[in-house]
């Protein structure tokens, strides 16, 4: 489903160049749960942003369903993000002036998605909170709102960058369960974390160090190739 070939990313600051990723290649299939671990500065976020279509690699190709995402028109790249991907960030990025329901609707592209709003609010114990503003929510409620926003358009792939970085253990396990459930329902997950213990749900674990893959383990064969 997603295929990276010799991805290299070089950042230039003035005259100093810094190779953030070097010759990264791997495949992720539909239904995989992949964790990318590594220490700070290893290039995890850069890698995820490249997959997300937000950062152009300096060389190499990345194919989504066999088409190179950086070879397509800007509009198609936007559509790729809009229709195929869901994002979970370390911060929630809820618009303070929009209600819970409105924040979620930012990610809805049609009536069908919007029609599921109540279902998800109920499922994630947010029923009756659709009209509240982010400032009126607890951290856990904000997190669940952001999570619904990520999955309401039923994306094929969920990209999460340190999603639990700011969460207490309780909310962290809630979030990890939500991601796990999304995966169980057939979704593909790429999770970036510096905490190796979070790779326990995954079937693929990639360890990055200094922009290079140190270790690429396949734990359990994915059930839904």
């Amino acid at each position: 489903m997603i295929e990276l070939r010799d991805i290299t990313k070089i950042y230039t600051r003035g005259s100093v160049t810094f190779t953030a990723l070097k010759d990264i290649s791997f495949n992720i299939n539909k239904g995989d749960y992949c964790t990318v671990v590594g220490s700070s500065g290893a290039g995890k976020s850069t890698l995820l942003n490249i997959i997300a279509g937000l950062v152009h690699p300096d060389s190499g190709n990345i194919y989504y369903n066999r088409s190179d995402i950086y070879q397509q028109k800007a509009g198609d790249l936007n559509n790729y993000r809009r229709k195929r991907l869901g994002f979970v960030f370390q911060q929630f990025y809820l618009m303070p002036y929009l209600t819970v329901a409105e924040n979620i609707r930012l990610a809805c592209h049609n009536k069908q998605h919007a029609g599921k709003l109540d279902f998800y609010l109920g499922k994630f114990s947010l029923s009756g909170m659709g009209n509240k503003y982010p400032s009126e929510l607890s951290v856990g409620e904000k997190q669940r709102t952001a999570f619904i926003r990520a999955i309401i358009s039923e994306p094929e792939m969920l990209l999460a960058d340190e999603p639990a970085g700011n969460l207490d253990p309780g909310n962290r396990s809630v979030l990890m369960n939500l991601i796990g459930e999304y995966h169980k329902n057939g979704g593909t997950v790429i999770l970036v974390t510096h905490d190796p213990s979070m790779s326990e749900h995954s079937n693929i674990s990639i360890t990055l160090e200094k922009g290079m893959i140190q270790n690429n383990t396949m734990r359990v064969p994915s059930t839904q190739k």
Binding site: S45, L54, A74, N78, R81, F87, Y93, Y97, L98
Partner: protein, 389 residues
């Protein structure tokens, strides 16, 4: 999620910044509309004053001695339809507001006591519409057929409520309703009676004749009078043009002064307001960089982000333009009443200007948000979302 709703909610959320931007549009629009309305009013006012005193250009047959207009009753006449020929000429644009006049001395008018007075009779033809010039407001009050307006000195000799009665050339008595008794100090017209031209021609048996055209010379580079004279004489070699320069100068000076004021103040205020707006928009997109990063990550295009910012500027520009228009008109009305005597009540909303400002201010404000909007649309979502909140 409806884009307009997002824009409006954001705008209401960041109240202070939105209010200041709105305020800048209101100021810019109110000042422009106010000054423009006042300068229009001032122009009308000058015209009205001039009409009271006479227009600035006199066109009359060559060889007429101007002094005779007030003392003789046999100054040379020319056909009334000369006016129409002038008005119909494509090349005739240095002179406007052509008013045909027949002005004669009437040596023995009998008042109701039977005593005899020498008075001045002036017949005004309705102002000619110049077909090849943009239509303009008529300058003066035209005298309605069957009525007269009497000068202050004549009025003293007619009892309140009575008609004005005069013996015609044919020896018959003619009576006219008095539409207006003019105030004192209007110069020669104090001892005059204003008629509709046709009435006076009939009274004097001078059908189709006038002896003067009063008009307004344009403000031309190569000199008002030269230009006007050239144009008139190109059509009628037997006519002469004279300028009443003090009135013309006063009018021109006032106009130029108003225009100079406006030409300096309006752009100055508008540009200042635009700069403030540009700065506030820049701050706004800085404050919103996470929002914008998120919207981009969610797959919104560069163009849609650009539109989102520009639409906000458009909405504020539109709201400010409407508010500013009425504020400016109100202010102009308020000050106009103090400044202008004749036109005080005639300062009305200039609806043409309204439609223009509905177009101009939103567009200007969109332009001032253009650079911030471009910056916002180029937001690097990956970079922004990697920063600490």
């Amino acid at each position: 999620m409806n884009a307009l709703r997002l824009i409006i909610k954001e705008l209401l959320y960041r109240k202070i910044s939105s209010l200041i931007i709105l305020f800048t549009v209101i100021i810019a629009s109110a000042v422009s509309v106010g000054i423009y309305s006042l300068s229009k009013a001032s122009e009308n006012e000058t015209r009205k004053i001039m009409r009271e005193q006479g227009l600035n250009l006199y066109i009359f047959p060559k060889g007429t001695n101007l002094i005779d207009f007030y003392s003789a009753n046999n100054t040379p006449c020319f056909p009334e339809n000369y006016i129409h020929v002038l008005a119909e000429s494509k090349t005739f644009d240095a002179v406007r507001h052509l008013t045909g006049i027949l002005q004669v001395k009437y040596p023995d008018w009998k008042d109701h006591n039977g005593s005899s007075h020498q008075i001045l009779l002036v017949g005004y033809k309705d102002e000619a519409m110049q077909r090849f010039l943009p239509e303009q407001e008529i300058m003066g009050t035209d005298v309605v057929k069957g009525t007269v307006q009497v000068g202050a000195l004549v009025a003293r000799n007619i009892p309140e409520g009575a008609q004005f009665t005069i013996t015609g050339n044919d020896g018959r008595q003619y009576s006219f309703d008095i539409a207006r008794r003019l105030g004192e100090g209007k110069g020669m017209i104090d001892q005059g009676v204003a008629f509709n031209l046709a009435d006076l021609q009939m009274l004097l048996g001078m059908e189709g004749k006038i002896n003067k055209i009063e008009a307004l010379g344009c403000v031309c580079k190569d000199g008002r009078i030269n230009n006007s004279r050239k144009q008139v004489q190109a059509i009628f070699a037997d006519l002469e043009v004279t300028e009443i320069s003090s009135i013309a100068d006063a009018r021109e000076n006032q106009r130029l002064m108003m225009n100079k004021y406006g030409a300096f103040i309006i752009p100055f205020i508008i540009i200042s307001c635009l700069l403030i707006t540009g700065f506030l928009f820049y701050q706004n997109i800085n404050a919103r960089k996470y929002e914008i990063g998120l919207l981009k990550a969610l797959g919104n295009s560069t163009g849609s982000i650009l539109m989102m910012i520009l639409a906000k500027a458009f909405i504020l520009g539109l709201a400010g333009a409407v508010t500013g228009f009425f504020a400016g008109t109100l202010v102009a009305e308020y000050f106009g009443k103090e400044i202008f005597l004749f036109t005080a009540t005639s300062i009305k909303p200039l609806w043409n200007l309204f439609w223009y400002s509905l177009l101009i201010f939103p567009v200007l404000w969109m332009l001032s948000s253009w650079i911030p909007a471009l910056i916002a649309s180029q937001t690097d979502a990956a970079k922004v979302l990697a920063e600490e909140y």
